[in-house]
Amino acid sequence: MPAEQTTAAAGDTPGNGSRADSTAAREALNQVDHRPGSAKPDPIVVADNVTRQFGGLTAVDVEHVEIQRGVITALIGPNGAGKTTFFNVLTGFDKPQSGTWSFNGRPLSGVPAYQVARMGMVRTFQLTKVLAKLHVVENMRLGATGQSGERFLSALLQRWGGQERQITDKADKLLERFLLDKKRNDFAGSLSGGQRKLLEMARALMADPELVMLDEPMAGVNPALKQSLLGHVKSLRDEGRTVLFVEHDMDMVRDISDWVIVMAQGTIVAEGPPDSVMANKSVIDAYLGSHHDQDLSEDVEEEIIAAAEAEIAGTTKTEERK
């Protein structure tokens, strides 16, 4: 389990035990009802009656939700549905007007964000928060938890060299995995938008989280890299971690998530495995749109081109008439 991994060992290939775990966890989901707020066999996060209002606007109003341990759960929904706000509440970055929520059975109301992170629930931000004037590798090192050199006296007495080397090794491995190793000694502020997303995700992994919460990890990442990132996210699950992510990219959601939760206007409107959720009428109406599962295959493309040509022809005709 990630919580027991030592700082140095993390990032290594996971054992077979956890791999079996994650398959079991996924299979357990087969028994779960496909309705909002359904109970999971082994929930890592449970939230009840969480409401967050901004003035008159209710951004989040979640009656009950459970996140299954050891699987990849996607949180989808239209813009302004309250996904980010719900993330903020869960991780202690925002205080709701009411509600209770827990992580590993421990209630989190009133627990400050940094303690939530220490418990093993680490999140990234939709608008990336890289530390611009620190080098990329320093950004990564900051992510490691339990650093003795972060205590004043040990820092002053310089008792941190050994641990720093371990952390740096781990950071370099992750940077390589996220294709940022060439940027290692650049200022994080000089990275592109997509690279910042990658750095933030890699940095969150430095903390060896049990639950990784990613807010739109793929936004602005190029298609080829997206593919390899999908692999990384899956490997997080195989390492025994739980992943909860917000994403608008339906291909990604379909491809990697084991469970999908749909939010709209602050409430959870649907839950289920990707296929069943994406076939759900209300989800299609509220969010996906009726053409969501069509790739731009040749016939569709031809149709569109034909329609466009017809339109152009139409306008030229009108112009000719004039």
């Binding site: 004037k133 004043f152 040990s154 720093e164 502020g189």
Partner: protein
């Protein structure tokens, strides 16, 4: 025009006790502002609390001067706690407002007539210097004859002062290359990111406020020792702003920035001051009284310093030691 004198007096001031005081005060502000991004506009308050503690122990309580130094350090930590507890959870501007107000409150209270029996009101306190003077190993005047010299006492203050500056710089260097310093710099960049990685931002900001305040305390000690007296007027608000100027000249978030900044600042301030005094003084002044009288000239150094600061901000905004590339990031 006597350039020899101008150079000599400028050097005397650039390396003298005053430069030590501002170097120490700016080292503190560097921890606050340069590394952690905390806006402390009340460094003079920290200096004053420490300075008065040092002096009050022998004068008011009849105890040892050295015990007073210890008390001064403790009281600055307490002051940092008092200022930090209510403000460090809030946005950065609150600390700025609270510190500038607190520094003035401290100054007005200690200088108040009601407390003049204890703290000597606006006249301040004297007569505590003997234990310090007794340790002075120097006699006569010291320096490079013909170029720059100091009195034995000034040189003793300087010795102690520059040793403190050197130790402070080593401490800053050790701390800021460590993971602890990395957390401070990260807080300056983005608090929430640091929080999301499991660091107690509030506690680190408090530690930074205390540490920077302690360097301010050292500056306060030297202020009292240098003049062999202490008074509220030594700790006016402009002390803090001069210390910020020193920091910006040298370059924020650089170990030696405050030291270089202080030396340059005091070299220029004295040099310009003496130059304009000479240029407008005497029987046949270089600048005739119709253009500028000597009273007006005494303000010219500040005008030129302001001009210099503007040019610095335009052409080398990162300060003397700063890193241009870091600054370029802000432009994005």
């Amino acid at each position: 025009m006597d350039f020899q004198t101008i150079l000599s007096l400028s050097l005397q001031s650039a390396l003298g006790p005053t430069a030590v005081i501002y170097a120490l005060a700016a080292i503190g502000l560097n921890v606050h502002f340069g590394y952690t991004g905390l806006l402390n506009f009340g460094q003079a308050g920290f200096m004053m609390v420490a300075g008065y503690a040092l002096v009050s122990f022998p004068i008011v309580l009849g105890l040892s001067l050295w015990l007073g130094a210890l008390a001064g350090l403790l009281l600055t930590v307490v002051l940092a706690l008092l200022l930090g507890v209510p403000t460090l959870r809030l946005r950065a501007d609150y600390l700025a407002i609270v510190t500038i107000a607190a520094a003035e409150i401290i100054r007005q209270s200690i200088g108040a007539a009601t407390l003049s029996d204890t703290f000597g009101g606006q006249d301040g306190l004297t007569g505590f210097i003997e234990p310090f003077r007794a340790l002075n190993p120097y006699t006569g005047s010291i320096g490079i004859p013909g170029l720059v010299t100091w009195s034995a006492f000034d040189f003793w203050v300087m010795t102690v002062g520059w040793v403190l500056v050197a130790i402070s710089c080593v401490v800053i260097w050790l701390l800021m290359r460590s993971p602890w310093g990395r957390v401070l710099k990260s807080i300056r960049e983005d608090e929430d990111a640091v929080r999301s990685l499991g660091k107690n931002v509030y506690s680190y900001k408090m530690q930074a406020l205390m540490l920077g305040g302690l360097f301010g305390a050292l500056a306060g000690f030297i202020t009292a020792l240098r003049s062999a007296s202490i008074g509220p007027s030594f700790f006016a608000t402009d002390v803090t702003f001069f210390a910020y100027t020193v920091l910006l000249i040298g370059g924020a978030a650089r170990v030696l920035g405050p030291v270089a900044g202080s030396i340059i600042f005091w070299f220029l301030i004295s040099g310009l001051g003496i130059f304009f005094a000479q240029a407008t003084g005497g029987a046949d002044p270089l600048i005739p009284a119709s253009i500028m009288t000597s009273t007006q000239a005494s303000l010219m150094r500040f005008i030129f310093l302001g001009l210099g600061l503007m040019l610095l901000m335009i052409f080398r905004p990162q300060g003397i030691f700063g890193d241009r590339r870091e600054l370029a990031i802000d432009a994005r």
